[in-house]
Amino acid sequence: MADPTTLPKKTDQQGLRAFLHGLPAVDQTGAQERAARLASRSIKTSAKAAAIDLAISMVDLTTLEGADTPGKVRAMCAKAVRPDPAVPSVPAVAAVCVYPDMVDVAVDALRGTGVGVASVATAFPSGRAPLEAKLADTRAAVAAGAAEIDMVIDRGAFLSGDYAKVSDEIAAVKRACGPAHLKVILETGELATLDNVRRASWLAMRAGADFIKTSTGKISPAATLPVTLVMLEAVRDYRAATGRQVGVKPAGGIRTTKDAIKYLVLVNETAGADWLSPDWFRLGASSVLNDLLMQRRKLSTGVYSGPDYFTLD
């Protein structure tokens, strides 16, 4: 692993390229096998109960639709605070995630609840806008009260090898965030290879990301276990090299309790227990929450209740 203190300046295209291409290779087959192996862990009884509550507390409950309205966002916020009104012991989710123009609605609805407000920004989901527009997007979301910003990287620049541009843009958005936490979406479905995922992870962390996130949810494939495995290895290695801990957020395609628990096992046995908290690991999802609630009730009561017993927001 290269010594981070001798890393090139952020605008040094050649140095950055040399660094990223000098990272250890990822063998795709091996990474897939490792992820599949971890996915076969059997999490039962008390371990399952703890995992379900942990997963609920890590959810970034998300609505990112053109048809979003204040009413829809308020309803989602109510669900975020008390996911299962019948069972007060169910924890609140970590945050809600909305478009910038819905931030004020969410902030109002969540004031004093401890549930965070995250906003996508930087011309989400494509990232195809001038830098100034992306920064304005970010500032507007922060000004409206967003505590977390989910930005997208310029995949076009990354794939064309213009790493400096991607890095500078992340750094600029990070400055625009001020005190808000920055999650950097790599959109791994468009980066295609796991070598690219590892490089993009390091690039984002070096440029100032507080979290690295797999996907927008608008591109298929979204989050996958092998991609998340490689990102967890990256944050583990980055902390070992620099002392700074960066979070990970798989997003999109996580629909069942089984899926969510597989991700927790991956965290536990790759990055380690230090990442097993909403401060360092999030699940970007919406439909998974109801399945977590349903499995939670099944564990505590011994019987399945139908989907009609959980609210659709």
Binding site: E33, K44, S277
Partner: protein
Amino acid sequence: MTVFEYAPAPESAAIADVRASYGLFIDGEFTDGGGEPFKTVNPATEEALAEVATADQADVDRAVAAARRAFETVWGPMPGTERAKYLFRIARLLQERSRELAVLESIDNGKPIRESRDVDLPLVAAHFFYYAGWADKLGHAGFGPDPRPLGVAGQVIPWNFPLLMLAWKIAPALACGNTVVLKPAETTPLTALLFAGICRQAGLPPGVVNIVTGAGETGRLLTGHPGIDKVAFTGSTGVGRQIARQVAGTRKRLTLELGGKAANIVFDDAPIDQAVEGIVNGIFFNQGHVCCAGSRLLVQESVAAELLERLRTRMATLRVGDPLDKNTDIGAINSAAQLARIQDLVAAGEAEGAERWAPACDLPAQGYWFPPTVFTQVAASHRIAQEEIFGPVLSVLTFRTPDEAVTKANNTPYGLSAGIWTDKGSRILWTAQRLRAGIVWANTFNKFDPASPFGGYKESGYGREGGRHGLEAYLDV
């Protein structure tokens, strides 16, 4: 910080019905043995599981005679298309009863249920399916238009993969038209006896498969029996030598699959996280009771420190314990004798100056256990670098150049397997061409497929099992 404790997730032991005593399987019937019965033990608890018959000379005579009769009257003359039907039927029954077989294998052998369920049993069924497909196509295998079977095969198998080694022996033998007398290892006879029941369930004609249980003496009676045409043995090099002497000068054909001390070579450009997984899988799979285990790690000196740090971190996550727990990575050592051998060699490693490390792990009070262990500062002259430990113990050596890696890798009397880890395709080919090993894995380890031949160079034995090559050992060519 949250501690994510995995609750016990035990597979039900009740899935496998273990009887109080087992007889021999001769001519389609379970019969008593003439020798003193022995007990097979659950190595995770040291509890006796069952009493098993010992075959004496008369029993072996009966088994060989039954196999000869079946060969001459039923199985030898039967068209390949018909033999294939039986083999396909056995393969399907193995799949249908795989859960029961996996549990029994884990109870008798000590291997984790995850491995018996996800590796052993799928491969067992695959092997029968694969050779069932060859049974009516032997004329196209490259051994002449109508190759003939040898006759009666005497087969002796080890305890590390009891049912899988049975499949490797029986499936090609039967596909080629031979009948068999097989002796499973004395510490792991139960799945072979359950397999005998599956042969009955499949309607296999009596005498085609015979199972004789017992210790080494029964094996000697079988391999030395004048009524057999072929000896196939998988096990230690020491016993392999005895069998080779015993068979020398007779008409019997012989294939031997013996020990190994495989080099797992990690170059500086290796995909490092996957290489760590490959090292772990290479030496800790099946408690290291694997003849092709990657027991010598050869790592390029420029990445050795980083690789070993990652390896130690990874080893700390290995879960050692109850073989029937679905989350167990490393199960029990198969027997007290094997545990003693591992302890002896590990003590020798320490005495010779190598540095021993194992992660902190709680081992159960009962049963035979050994923690995953790695030795650094190992010199090529140390016993732990030369002798097969057959346990979860890795010896790490370093090299500076590709030439040195190949020289060190080949510097062993064995030659069963090797692994190469590099991101560079040309280096994989360059290295593989120079390694004197029967199986070379690139950027993976311990991968098996019935279509792929398996066997050794030098003192790792001769003959190949698996694939088209595996037919040759059971045909008169």
